[in-house]
């Protein structure tokens, strides 16, 4: 096998330049400024967190795919982010909740009346 490929992890620590963000996000510098003005990405002169690349690509896909304006894209992005945060919170709640007893030991509550079937 060849040497393993090391990609760029798109997280908040790696940095991408403005020109990289435009070229790989399929947006013009002017469109990037619009996204920054709308708060979709942070306003920077250069050196954006690499996670912005995922954000910009998604924004560009939504803009072109839905033929929407950037303002609508910003709203959609906010809503999608909120849905993802809620899903993650729900997942976290499920992870934190006390595990249910196994079916062998669980009290059987037919019809929710709290009567244990023996």
């Amino acid at each position: 096998m060849n040497d393993p490929l090391k990609g760029l992890l798109l997280d908040e620590f790696a940095v991408v330049s403005r020109s990289e963000l435009c070229a790989n996000g399929w947006v013009t510098p002017e469109e990037l400024d619009v996204l920054a003005a709308l708060g979709v990405i942070p306003e920077r002169a250069d050196g954006y967190p690499a996670v912005c690349l995922s954000i910009v690509r998604r924004a560009a896909r939504l803009k072109r795919g839905l033929e929407a304006d950037w303002e609508s894209v910003a709203v959609i992005m906010d809503l999608l982010q909120e849905i993802e945060a809620l899903k993650s919170e729900l997942y976290g709640m499920k992870a934190r909740e006390r595990p249910r007893l196994s079916s062998h030991d669980a009290p059987d509550l037919p019809g929710g009346n709290g009567v244990r079937r023996n």
Binding site: N2, L5, L10, N24, R64, L66, E67
Partner: protein, 305 residues
């Protein structure tokens, strides 16, 4: 190569007006856009719709496409007519799908689907599911891709490719890795591959952000009297002191024992008291002794006694 019925893909009659085409596209885009759709195979369907729209919204391309005639069946074998070259609306124009690869049917009729003549190849997206252990320690994983390549005649043919990709330790659910130049080939260089990572559910641990949750079943006497528990973590077993008087639902925090990162996550150990079965006379006798000797009413706060 197969014929593509763009009208059928968009659910339109061949007589549809430009406004009908736009309306149909917007309706389908809302339904199948992969960023907002829950439909199965949304991405695949959306690419088809996007390609159909690219042709039908452009009067020159649509007229050229219409000249092929209406006798074609979807998926019928297709070769462009001998006098085709040069008659179709090629190049130029603002495309909706920068970075998208079109079908060989489209390319045979209209050439490269992307802006400009020296366009970079399309970016590709792929998903990779890894284990929690791989995410914790980092790993090298093979990623199998079906990538269109041009054959000696310039036709797009699918080619199976395996990439060996380094997964950095501490990668999180949903994070992407960009592999520059590993997307589709193009005259201006290959596009990039975006690999989205999913972490498979684990039989022992549950993941919340960088924190890990593990349920520790304990006996009533361990909980009551305290104990030293041998607890698994992804970095190996550690010994944890269970305090005297512990209750089900309480959790112990193992600081920094969660997923690696800046800062690293924690591991939480959820205490679950498991009662021994009353499957012997001796067991029943011990429970009766506790009932008799311990003044304990777990529902005292209800005030129903």
């Amino acid at each position: 190569m197969h014929y593509r019925d763009y009208y059928r893909i968009m659910g339109l009659e061949r007589t549809a007006s430009a406004e009908d085409v736009k309306r149909a596209y917007r309706k389908l885009a809302r339904r199948y856009h992969p960023d907002v759709s829950k439909e199965p195979k949304a991405e695949e369907r959306f690419k088809e719709i996007g390609e159909a729209y690219e042709v039908l919204r452009d009067p020159e391309k649509r007229a050229a496409y219409d000249r092929l005639g209406s006798q074609w069946q979807p998926e019928q074998d297709f070769t462009p007519p001998p006098d085709w070259r040069g008659t179709a609306g090629r190049g130029g124009g603002a495309h909706i799908f920068e970075g998208q690869e079109f079908s060989d049917f489209f390319e045979s009729l209209f050439g490269g689907g992307r802006r400009g003549t020296a366009a970079r190849g399309a970016d590709e997206a792929a998903h990779l599911t890894i284990t929690l252990e791989d995410a914790f320690h980092g790993a090298t994983k093979p990623v199998r891709l079906s990538v269109p390549q041009r054959d000696a005649h310039g036709r797009l043919v699918p080619e199976q490719r395996t990439l060996n990709v380094r997964i950095p330790k501490g990668i999180q659910q949903g994070q992407q890795i960009r592999l520059a130049g590993q997307g589709n080939p193009g005259r201006g260089g290959a596009g990039d591959l975006y690999l989205e990572i999913a972490i498979a559910p684990h039989p022992l641990y549950r993941l919340d952000g960088r924190d890990l949750y593990l349920t520790a079943p304990v006996s009533p006497w361990e909980a009551a009297l305290g104990a030293r528990l041998k607890v698994p973590t992804l970095a190996g077993t550690v010994e944890v002191r269970l305090p005297e008087g512990s209750q089900s639902g309480q959790k112990l925090r193992l600081k920094g024992r969660g997923m690696p990162g800046t800062p690293p996550g924690d591991q939480y150990v959820l205490i679950e008291i498991v009662n021994p079965k009353t499957d012997s006379d001796r067991a029943r006798e011990l429970y009766r002794a506790m009932a008799q000797d311990l003044a304990f009413d777990p529902r005292a706060h209800w005030g129903t006694a």
